[in-house]
Symmetry: C2
Subunit: 144 residues, 2 copies
Amino acid sequence: MDDFIATCRREGLSVTYQRIVIYKALSSTKTHPSAEMVYRMVKKEYPSISLATVYKNLETLADHGIIAKVTPLHDLARFDADTNLHHHLVCVHCKKIIDIHDTNLNEIEIEHEKAPGFQVLGYQIQFVGVCNECAVKQQISEAV
Amino acid sequence: MDDFIATCRREGLSVTYQRIVIYKALSSTKTHPSAEMVYRMVKKEYPSISLATVYKNLETLADHGIIAKVTPLHDLARFDADTNLHHHLVCVHCKKIIDIHDTNLNEIEIEHEKAPGFQVLGYQIQFVGVCNECAVKQQISEAV
DNA sequence: TTGGATGCAAATACTTTGCACACGG
DNA sequence: CCGTGTGCAAAGTATTTGCATCCAA
């Protein structure tokens, strides 16, 4: 937890009791909870906390790379007519999704003991990064 | 488009004008649109279509594997305190997310020419499948 | 003391649902 | 004709925002 406090300081984030309790709740579980689930966990230790605070903190901590969003594209369901095995590039800025057809990526195997009891049906790789257009925009805004 | 009609027949889905226009819109683009975006595209050809019909059709077509959801976990933002490179198993039934730490999966490279102009910052593999608990439940319900 | 953080309530965004009617098979 | 699909409106769920107050630095 001292690590967390130091990281907040380094990132210029205030160290509030709420923030600590939220982080403690998230780091105590491997269940990859939603904001609502974190809220329920946190309420046990701090019943007066507000759901909005949980949302704001999870977003802030993710922005600073202190926690991770498992579902970076969760805000909108997005569809694809191409049902063949392929992968995606996702631009972190504009959320654009670009198809990657690369047969080298189609033979990934997971060691069975890493996923005991889990029946793997398929997989999908999400590369995250910055697309051409957004990189250009960034350069322009930095040049100002 | 004949393929699509044949597939619908095979899957026991009625072939309606709306369904065809929705599929045509989705398959005409590589932008991985949301339901709202598909709705806007479809409205040009069929202005009286309802947004609910678009939602219902996208869901139905995805259920039958005729189209794909790029974002199977879109319904809820989910967080992880572990920011180290690792991957996830997702159960298609209960949406449980299980961590996979397997260093073999941490050295995937994308051929540069496959993603021209895209600056790759990282990646994440989502394995989809059925978890132990859901597999057991399925066996029980099939045994009835 | 001051800017960031909190908490409440209201607003918004996305998606689903119920139901009467229409239409495909 | 029967059952699935459509369209509308209403409801539901997830998330964000505005703003007054509070608190960490």
